[in-house]
């Protein structure tokens, strides 16, 4: 195959250039800065692995990492269950299915910052009012404790992203040939059995895509975190991305923040790549 001739590279050039300018070069420069005492203006000396060793002892970073990991696990599981559920719902022969699809997808079109403020109002004022008038104390004071802050973030993320995941599942669900289901039906398979043995294996590729998307998105969340809880109360709902921004810009330790960012990058890359590898092996080809 002679597809890698000159025109191949020629067509690739703009993309390669763009990638190099906005991804590869900053990555290399950033990694370099993480080994220095860069303060945003000048580099005076090379400090080796000092920043990286400090990160191991940095409680705020480790707390943020734990919080983010827990959040991502819960969010990924719930997102995929709810996304798949919605997809199955709207692929039934319902009159309103197109309307429902639009509705479910809509939250995805709203920016994270605004969503955060909307949900802040819902959690604090709406929940508070309902709790007060019905006398349910657990609905009051949301976001003022670590637990409610955590679930607030989970609910917000699910509300925002499940519509997107639903679209991915719909695409795969509609690709399942009808004959398979019909044949199984004739053979007397129950709907649960049909889901378990036909639908589930055939939408497996969708898991790869959507788990990859949800996991890396959940890990990288920043704007929702910022507008909903701002890391509070007492910094207990602060995620890694926010910790990095605060280290670099509020505390003015740019090189140290850069070192955190490099570690964050490695963690996300490892998770994402291993997950793609693992899921690829399980996929069923039609």
């Amino acid at each position: 195959m002679k597809n890698k001739d000159l025109s191949f590279w020629l067509f690739l050039t703009p993309v390669l250039l763009a990638l190099a300018i906005v991804v590869f070069i900053p990555l290399i420069i950033g990694t370099y800065y993480s080994f220095t005492d860069w303060n945003g203006l000048t580099v005076t000396k090379f400090v080796g692995f000092e920043h990286y060793l400090n990160i191991l002892k940095d409680e705020t970073f480790i707390d943020a990492l734990k919080f983010t990991t827990l959040f991502s696990i819960v969010a990924v599981i719930l997102l995929n269950i709810i996304g798949l559920g919605l997809a199955i719902l709207v692929t039934q022969k319902l009159k309103s299915s197109n309307f429902l699809r639009t509705i479910f997808f809509m939250p995805n079109l709203i920016g994270g910052l605004i969503l955060g403020f909307i949900w802040q109002f819902v959690f604090i004022n709406v929940f508070g009012e309902i709790g007060q008038s019905l006398g349910i104390p657990s609905l009051q004071g949301w976001l003022s404790t670590t637990n409610t802050g955590f679930w607030g973030l989970v609910i917000l993320t699910i509300w925002q992203m499940s519509g997107y995941i639903m679209i991915i599942y719909i695409a795969y669900l509609q690709n399942i040939p009808n004959e398979l289901n019909e044949a199984a039906d004739i053979d007397g398979a129950s709907s649960l059995q049909r889901f378990r043995h036909i639908t589930f294996p055939l939408v497996a590729p969708a898991f790869t895509v959507s788990m990859f998307l949800t996991l890396s998105n959940a890990f990288k969340i920043y704007d929702q975190n910022l507008s909903l809880t701002e890391g509070g109360p007492f910094g207990s709902t602060q995620m890694v991305a926010m910790d990095i921004v605060r280290t670099a810009y509020t505390r003015n330790q740019l090189a140290y923040g850069q070192a955190k960012a490099v570690i964050f990058f490695i963690i996300i890359a490892v998770i994402a790549l291993s997950q793609v590898y693992y899921n690829k092996k399980r996929e069923v080809d039609l």
Binding site: L6, W9, T13, L17, N39, G141, S144, F234
Partner: protein, 451 residues
Amino acid sequence: MYFFKLICERLQKIGGKKMSKHLKGLIVLLLAVLVLAACGGDGSSESNANGDDTSGEEQITINVFQGKVEIKDQFEAMVEVYEEENPNVNIEFVAVGGGSDYIGSLKTRFSSGDEPEIFSIAGPTEAEQFKDYLADLSDTESAQLAFEGTLDSVRDGDAVLGLPYNLEGYGYIYNKEIFENAGVDASSIMTYEDLENAFSTIDSQKDDLGIVAVNALGAKERWIIGAHLANAYLAPEFNNNILEAYNADTVTFERGDELKRMLDLQVEYSVQPTLNIDYSQQVEQYFSLGQVAVIQQGNWIYPSVEQMDPDLAQNLGILPIPVEGLEGKLPVGVPNYWGVNKNKDEATVQAAKDFLDWMNTSEVGKETVTSEFNFIPAYEGYSADMINDPISKEIFRYSEAGETIGWVFNGFPSNSWGDLLGEFMQEYIADGLEWEDVLTNATEKWEEGRN
């Protein structure tokens, strides 16, 4: 693009089949970079040509780079007057802020070589970072006129590295109408006990006064408690001198008990849960709508209150935070400083200094600064009558009389120790931490930040 292809084919012929695929890719890449670079070059030469049309006299351009977006139009109007008086000076104003990161943008400007002539810095941390770029301003008229103590945080030996923008002050801002209705005389409140009595008097008549609570403590904002409230009790420890705080290796919390007492008082009489109340809820939802009688805030809330309720805005007063032995003193400080870039030629540096002096001392400048920017002047030569809003007026009177407590929180370690202290205080409010632990943890963090 055809020309491009020709070169490539020519190169291919030269290289023949021996040329590896990678090499080919590399050449294509290089050529593309060259083409792009050529385009870029065109643009820059054009802009050079534009800047060249001077009319005889040497033209000086001063770029002003700073973080207050809200004064942009007013500043430009003032600049026009100055440019008419000084035709050889051209002032360009850039405002970065309102959500975008000012200091990050400033660093970008410096590292890209496009350095502004005048820029703003906040406090000693930034003054030290930009020390290599900041000219000595001690010979300016403004520096002579600046209120005592306002230059502390930008002093470097005998040199003065910045000139104050303005003053800002905070304390307990109260709704005069509610205080009157409750029969509380604000002017008699001096000590902590007075304040406590006032709070409980108002609290007992909550329903009659139509308020939900006496005050709203914005404990969600770490700076309200960790920087501002704590500052009132930390400043005396550092003799009200920000540089002393900036150079201190540790903090002893001499007045830690007083801080606790005041925090407890505010939490007790606040709308609950305090950890949910952010700045906008505190100022807009609770205070401006008349749901609480008093909040711990500063003169910067005036525009928001005015927008929501102009009558209330004219009916505001401010009380100092009572600190034992220092009753009746208001925490007043300088949020930002003007700095002049010293890496420019002498004439430009002088022109920049002249402009800053003109802004702070000429009639037009004074008028704009007070009534258009709504600044509280940090210089002598102004009178309280020039200031529009009632809170700023009172703050100016306090500073004129020297009845102030300094702002030391810009001298906290790595700029954000106040946030950390605020987090520990939040944990204390949520009953997750004993008060002694708040102080020990905070002291530990201070010492960490100084190493």
